[in-house]
């Protein structure tokens, strides 16, 4: 039971809003000690895993480009572009992005998207711009909701698309795992049985995005009503 102490520390630490880096470090050390690792072994595990997983931080490479383009008005231009498409609404735009993201990921093109490359510079500003075209200047809270939904849409599209591409890591991992346990199967079967969930993911999130337009309208109605009252009163 003792190795589970790390999980407990993470849950309590996150709940009490301590700095996550510190929480994770303490949880790691405690787990290691509970699992009878020496301090040296714990440090070596920290160092090796940190070095091996440097690829997780390679989004840093995109920041100079995105930062530079933003300085010269990339966000503003995204909003100009979307304002020319009269039929564009936040929900429709995000449904289109969900579809493109999920289907390209299913073809193995997972790098055609991402938070640093696509969501911050293009998708989120366009989603905000589409709502602005309909409702005028948006309050900060609604703006943040639209940004969060843009990031969420990227994740949903990526996760439930990539797993039906047969050369993707998850498929190879499962194939290897079953092989080790004496079960031989075609990777294609694993990919195929992912399709029902992938379709459901698109329908569920797509429906939520479809309803999102109504939520934005309701929010703005409420907001305009309350600001008007404040001015009248």
């Amino acid at each position: 039971m003792w190795p589970l102490i790390g999980i407990l520390i993470v849950i309590i630490g996150f709940a009490l809003k301590f700095n996550p880096l510190l929480v994770v470090t303490v949880a790691g050390i405690a787990t290691g000690l509970a699992g009878n690792l020496s301090v040296e072994e714990i440090l070596i595990t920290f160092g090796t895993a940190f070095e091996k997983n440097r690829y997780l931080s390679l989004f840093i490479l995109t920041l100079p480009i995105i930062g530079l383009l933003e300085r010269y008005g990339l966000k503003e231009q995204s909003q100009v572009l979307i304002s020319k498409v009269k039929a564009a609404t936040t929900g429709r735009l995000l449904i289109l992005y969900l579809f493109v993201r999920e289907s390209t990921a299913a073809l193995g093109l997972t790098s055609l998207g991402g938070h640093a490359q696509m969501v911050r510079p293009l998708v989120a500003p366009m989603a905000e711009g589409a709502a602005e075209n309909k409702h005028g200047e948006l309050p900060e809270e609604l703006r943040n909701k639209i940004k969060a939904q843009s990031a969420a849409t990227d994740n949903v599209g990526l996760f439930f698309g990539e797993d039906i591409f047969i050369a993707f890591g998850a498929i190879l991992l499962m194939h290897g795992f079953f092989q080790q346990n004496g079960i031989v199967m075609e990777p294609l079967h694993l990919a195929m049985w992912g399709i029902p969930t992938a379709i459901c993911a698109f329908l569920i999130h797509g429906t939520r995005l479809y309803l999102f337009d109504g939520k934005i309208a309701a929010y703005m109605k409420e907001y305009n009503h309350s600001t008007k009252n404040r001015i009248d009163g």
Binding site: G6, G47, L56, L58, P64, E76, A152
Partner: protein, 317 residues
């Protein structure tokens, strides 16, 4: 091979080293020394990651956590352009601004699909084990050159701009790697087997439906704890999936694997432990609530997890 992943890490390390120096000279940052030290050490881990012995790298990691944990990584000032300046310049450059942004994904895809097997003499052009990451590195360099020539920017201006974005993300940029180290320690201490034993002893194994629920929900919960469905899959499948659903009840392992992994992904949508998908984007989009992306995803994840229980139950047998 000609382009190796290690070279891409050198570039990231050099960026971070320059950011460290810029932070050091930024007098408006109340903690400029510790902020500079943080980015500097992070940069060192990129440039010298292969040659530093793991023990010392481990100490470096702990120092990073301590600096961040005690509020040592702060924002400075960044000489931003005004709204009017940006609007004027967006009119001036127009849609040309999209070219470098779109070049990043396009060149990455060309590299990872088309140039994958390209050889010059006996050497592969790209590192075969890390084709996508190396392609991303090359794409960023090409895109950076194009962006600088379109906007006629010189010198380290792009890195100054990236410091604004990186400081906004702050310590959260190291969190994905930190969580990966926690996963490694969980593995070394045998956390997985303990969890699988616990779940296995708590469910009525004769009832197919309950075992399906335990496996699907267990995948999601364990993924939430580990922050990664890949880490949860072997543990839950060896503990519950294979012995109970496949061997005892005769389920199809392909269905088990496919829907099981997707159930783990529902967990990924729900946890701050999957920092690179949930926490870093919230910081990147300047959202005041670091859990805003998780909150936006939660209804989708919970509905889909319920759907998965029934898909698994009807397709497995």
């Amino acid at each position: 091979m000609i382009f190796q992943l290690e070279y891409v890490y050198y570039i990231a390390g050099i960026f971070l080293a320059i950011i460290s120096i810029l932070s050091f000279t930024d007098k408006s940052n109340p903690r400029r020394f510790t902020t500079a030290l943080f980015w500097g050490l992070f940069g060192i881990s990129f440039i010298f990651g292969k040659v530093i012995p793991p023990l010392y790298m481990g100490i470096l990691v702990i120092v990073l956590a301590i600096i961040a944990g005690f509020g040592g990584v702060r924002m400075g000032s960044y000489q931003q352009t005004t709204d009017q300046e940006r609007e004027a310049s967006s009119r001036r450059f127009g849609n040309k601004l999209f070219i470098p942004a779109l070049l990043i994904p396009i060149v990455t895809v060309i590299g990872s699909v088309v140039l994958k097997k390209t050889q010059i003499g006996d050497l592969f052009l790209l590192d075969q084990q890390n084709v996508t990451l190396v392609s991303l590195g090359i794409a960023c360099m090409i895109s950076l050159v194009v962006a600088m020539s379109i906007t006629r920017t010189k010198g380290i201006q792009p890195i100054k701009e990236s410091r604004r974005l990186l400081d906004a993300i702050g310590w959260a940029s190291v969190l994905p790697q930190m969580l990966a180290t926690l996963g490694a320690l969980f593995g070394a201490a045998g956390v997985g087997t303990v969890v699988a034993d616990l779940v296995g002893s708590a469910i009525p194994v004769d009832n197919r439906f309950f075992v399906v629920v335990a496996y699907v929900v267990g995948m999601a919960l364990f993924t939430m704890v580990m922050g990664n469905a890949f880490a949860a899959f072997p543990v839950m499948t060896a503990g519950i999936g294979l012995p109970l659903l496949v061997q005892m009840h005769g389920g199809d392992p392909a269905v088990l694997g496919a829907i099981g992994m997707f159930s783990g992904y529902c967990g990924t949508l729900l946890t701050p432990m999957a920092a690179n998908f949930n926490i870093v984007p919230a910081a990147l989009l300047d959202l005041p609530d670091k859990n805003a992306v998780i909150k936006a995803q939660a209804p989708t994840a919970l509905i889909l997890l319920t759907v998965n229980v029934f898909l698994m139950y009807y397709l497995l047998f």
